[in-house]
Amino acid sequence: MTSPIAGGVDCDLHPAVPHLTSLLPYLNDYWRDQVTTRGMTDLVSQSYPANSPISARPDWRPAKGKPGASLADMQAQALAPFGVSYGICNPLFGVQMVFSEDMADAFCRALNDWLVKEWLDKDERLRGSIVIPVQSIEKSVAEIERCAQDQRFVQVLMLVMGDMPLGKRAYWPIYAAAERLGLPVGIHAGSSYHNPPTSVGWGSYHIEDYVAQAQAFQTQLTSLIAEGVFARHPNLKMVMLESGFTWLPSYLWRLHKFWRGIRMETPWVDRAPLEIVRSNIRFSLQPIDAPDDPAALNRLFDHMQSDELLLFSTDYPHWQFDGDAALPEGMSPELVRKIMIDNPYATYGRLKEKAKA
């Protein structure tokens, strides 16, 4: 087993909101009453059904309550075993699914406040991602600016399957705000379910939706590159979270090939897509969609032509690996160091700063 190196960063942790009522203290009177009087129960996304094997590793699943709801469990099961200095929390509470932008905004604010009180305040290693109500660009920018005042927020969080392709210009004020504040934008697996979860319609199964996440990251990367997000915002970094990465090399070959022939359609794409990915895009480590044979994974790393792309993650409490085998077999200590320490610190600028409440 490949050993971790202490002092790294876990870039994908999922603290769970026990129930919608947990957010009531963080809602104003109107929204509190809306939730209770209309009988709203919970915001659990189909992307992670509570009892699905993906949603929690068996030994991380508590006897009662949602996996990932207990700080003590996260400390013992994720933070301690890998000796990390920081853990970045990406809450996956399903606030993106509602259709009212006002309601989404209220829930996002409450969720971000809840994260501070119940997690960031209670363990100095923890950092947060700002969840935003993407249906309203103005409200999203306002929420970014509000939460960014707390230096423990290190990232903006969006889902990979939303209402529009992420490169669309309507979203750009969000990226401008993030770039201005030195925050990467994290794009996480999951869907608002406002569109069918595959490129060819609604599949039948949870496993199908989950496999489809990888394809969604591919089309989103095409959108971000083709629309010129990084031409306009060269200092913006985006992190693909729980995306898989073994699809990346052959995907880039294809994008490069077509870009060359249809360049005139998007003349602002003035660098090869591979260069844009190297400078602006990163990927969290889990899940590793590779065969058990380490030789294949080593070939894939060679195909990727960069050791700066991967950021260590456990994806706790999701079930992506067993025991402490978060790092693939046969990885050199140099590469472990890059993945666990160098690459995350280079990506998340705020990690170097002293945390302020």
């Binding site: 392709p165 599949g203 496999v211 990888a214 083709a226």
Partner: protein
């Protein structure tokens, strides 16, 4: 050769002795709007002239993502006698089949009845297209073989069309498009696979079509480039659906071909499917084996658009993972992203693999070995 510009008599290309190849993705076109009329009942002539075709996208003339070249085709492929690219057998022979020594050419007609919202019209046009393929193409050049085009959204009707053509040596496969109303593994399409397996034909799934769904899981992208790159993601979703709905489990002898969506994505998708099946197989008990085993046993890929990494050892890694016995050479003639046969495979390939790639896999799959 483009008559717009050429003012010299046509020069015959120097024909070297070239290796015989199979081209598993050729697109024959109609020269005129009425070319299909002899094969279509009269009521449909009037219908088409009045109401034309209604697809699952809004534009009546041309695609909402404009192509990179007119008719999405090579500008030098206009036949001298007129008509769009791909509409002349003699010119196809002269420009492509003869000089490139194509000994087997599989026809995949596009812009057919597939993807029409009027399902009765769809069925009529599909059947007419199949008759047209015989009359204009396969009966006139024995190198060419047709694909049975079916009104896929209506399973029983599609199955009937397949059974009607059973045993007809003019056809070597059934043809579907990748972007359909539902993912292709779903039960409304099951009669198609049932019939195809019954009559012993493989089913090809060709990129494109419109099924009424946005072409990404996050809505409609802006650019044609995104659509082109996106065929890879559509095909991945199709293959995942075919595996997870149990189509490949229930039809042990069915073969399927992923056409014009590349193949570089296949290893990563197989590994991802395997990993998640190990976790989540209780949701899909009808999927009895590892997804990668089904893919290994049932699936082929045409090569165009050919994967084009900077380093050929990277290409060879991917082909090793996919299998040298699983690739079917294709040019996509006359489309603009045509792969020139002599340029697609870098040096360093064994003779056996080269012959498999360019011809033998296709002959074996299509029963023409």
């Amino acid at each position: 050769m483009n008559m717009q510009f050429r003012d010299l008599p046509e020069q015959a290309p120097s024909v070297q002795a070239k290796t015989a190849i199979a081209d598993c993705d050729i697109h024959p076109a109609r020269a005129t709007a009425t070319e299909l009329y002899p094969f279509l009942a009269k009521r449909w002539h009037e219908h088409l002239e009045t109401y034309d075709r209604h697809q699952y996208q809004g534009m009546m003339d041309g695609p909402p993502y404009p192509k990179a070249q007119p008719n999405a085709s090579r500008r030098d492929a206009y036949p001298p006698e007129g008509g769009p690219q791909g509409s002349s057998l003699s010119f196809m022979q002269q420009q492509h089949l003869d000089p490139n020594n194509v000994v087997l050419g599989v026809l995949n007609p596009l812009a057919t009845g597939q993807g029409l919202r009027n399902h009765e019209l769809a069925a009529a046009i599909c059947s007419a297209i199949n008759d047209w393929q015989i009359e204009k193409w396969t009966s006139k050049d024995s190198r060419l073989k047709g694909s049975i085009v079916v009104a896929n959204e209506d399973g029983p009707t599609a199955a009937a069309e397949i059974r009607k053509r059973a045993g007809d040596k003019n056809f070597v496969q059934v043809l579907l498009l990748s972007r359909t109303v539902e993912p292709l593994g779903q039960r409304r399409y099951w009669p198609i696979y049932q019939a195809a397996e019954e009559v012993g034909l493989p089913v090809g799934v060709h990129a494109f079509g419109f099924g009424g769904n946005p072409i990404t899981a996050s809505g409609w992208p802006s650019f044609y480039m995104e659509e082109m790159v996106g065929h890879s993601q559509c095909q991945q979703a199709v293959l995942a659906s075919l595996v997870l709905e149990g189509v490949l489990e229930r039809h042990p002898t069915l073969k399927m071909i992923m056409i014009e969506a590349g193949f570089g994505w296949a290893p990563s998708l197989s590994w991802r499917l395997d990993k998640n099946w190990r976790r989540l197989r209780s949701e899909v008990p009808h999927v009895k084996r590892l997804p990668s085993e089904y893919i290994r046993d049932h699936i082929y890929w045409t090569t165009q658009p050919m994967e084009d990494p900077e380093r050929r050892d990277h290409l060879f890694d991917v082909i090793d993972w996919v299998g040298w016995d699983k690739l079917l050479f294709a040019t996509d003639y006359p489309h603009w992203d045509f792969d020139e046969p002599s340029r697609v495979l870098p040096p360093g390939v064994s003779d056996a693999n080269r012959e498999a790639f360019y011809l033998n896999n296709a002959k074996k799959l299509y029963g023409l070995a």
